[in-house]
Symmetry: C2
Subunit: 246 residues, 2 copies
């Protein structure tokens, strides 16, 4: 009897070529398929809830796969972590209904974009934060973020190579927190376009630097042209935090 298993996965994207299988590159999907197939002695193809770019990290990525194995749902994590490389870990596993499809199920996804705001980068967090020198105006960034909340056409905040049919998405919340020299931008939405979070982060940083007024964000949205928004912030500052299934 086939069962569907859900994995919650964390990875350090530094040396990975993102989620999706690519010939000749080490990706999270290819490593999971290889290790699951070896463990279960059947050909396994995971279905990821999201595809992250090369260099992006995750502390709560999700995928499912179907198996005939009789390993209890919560034990797949222990079994898999024996053979996974140290930059990928399965944090938990469980059985889910066969009908559950992680890309079709409605959810709230949260990403974190981390900035190290100091004169120089800090070696001990350089792999997980984007270094920005010069003080950022958090109040301006928060005012700008408010324009992005709600259902909008995010075409201006999307890589032009995106193949999404619709560029309309809903952002539920953007929370900008500062602790010491670290600034975290937490963004929750129903889905994100190609590079959308990195373009939002890059735009908010430029607004924090005074390059654009916060009010400009509304015009950026309405323009529906990628050139109107700010830069794409580097992949290493981004981390997929998790899902809330609705």
């Amino acid at each position: 009897m086939q069962r569907r298993i859900m994995l919650t996965i964390a990875y350090d994207g530094t040396n990975l070529h993102g989620w999706q299988i690519q010939p000749g590159a080490v990706t999270v999907e290819s490593v999971l398929n290889r290790e699951l197939s070896a463990l279960l002695k059947e050909e396994i193809h995971v279905i990821g809830a999201s595809r992250t770019d090369a260099g992006v990290h995750a502390e709560g990525a999700v995928c499912v796969f179907d198996t005939g194995s009789r390993i209890p749902g919560d034990k797949f994590s222990f079994a898999l972590n024996q053979s996974l490389p140290p930059d990928i870990r399965v944090l938990s596993s469980k059985e889910v209904p066969d009908s559950f499809h992680p890309r079709r199920a409605k959810c709230r996804k949260t990403y974190r974009y981390s900035i190290w705001n100091d004169t120089f980068p800090l070696p001990t967090n350089r792999l997980y934060t984007h270094w920005v020198h010069g003080a950022l105006d958090l109040s301006a960034m928060r005012r700008a973020a408010d324009y992005l909340i709600g259902e909008h056409d995010f075409k201006s905040f999307c890589n032009v190579r995106s193949q999404a049919e619709s560029t309309v998405r809903t952002i539920y919340d953007i929370d900008i927190r500062k602790e010491g020299k670290q600034i975290d931008i937490l963004i929750t939405g129903n889905g994100f376009l190609y590079n959308m979070i990195r373009i939002i982060a890059g735009t908010l940083i430029e607004i924090g630097q005074g390059k654009y007024a916060p009010e400009k964000t509304e015009a950026m949205l309405l323009a529906e042209r990628r050139e109107e928004a700010g830069q794409t912030a580097p992949a290493k500052g981004l981390c997929l935090m998790g899902y809330e299934w609705l």
Copy 2:
């Protein structure tokens, strides 16, 4: 005219063989000597305030050097960071009196030992925390730590290969903080013996696991024998945080 310059340095110890120069190994001291000598076109030998082991990190290490250069004291950091590898950064620089010697000056040093306390390690902090699964009894760890505060002979908490003349040191404070799944042990003292913080951290972890009663800490100190204390926790959880000069 010779001037004495103090550098505050941060490094990611993952790929470094510690502070001290060793033939054929990349160490912080050797990289700083090489880059300072190239920058200033004179032979520079830095004097470090502390030597850290291979794999130990720093966010506030200190060293001094003497130079005939006329670069303003606060500009050495900017100049040096142009050529340093990304795992070493000079956070600040300034001129200090010629008489200031970082190993003879009285100070309070603070180290942090970081533990990730969860079922599985987290890839995105695995290089900077020691993973311990199974809940730790923080209240037992805090009671044990109290026995270590003050002036004591720390011979039991010192690598037997130590060449220190005296094994008496003063610990001013041990603060054990938990945030989410991370536990940080912050230890401030007037100086630390070879592996002392890592043996204290390893012992506190074993007490948190219930292997020893907190009260056993007093007997460990009084025994003045390394075998009586707990294990040496791994280098990667340790970070030299900084100095307060008295």
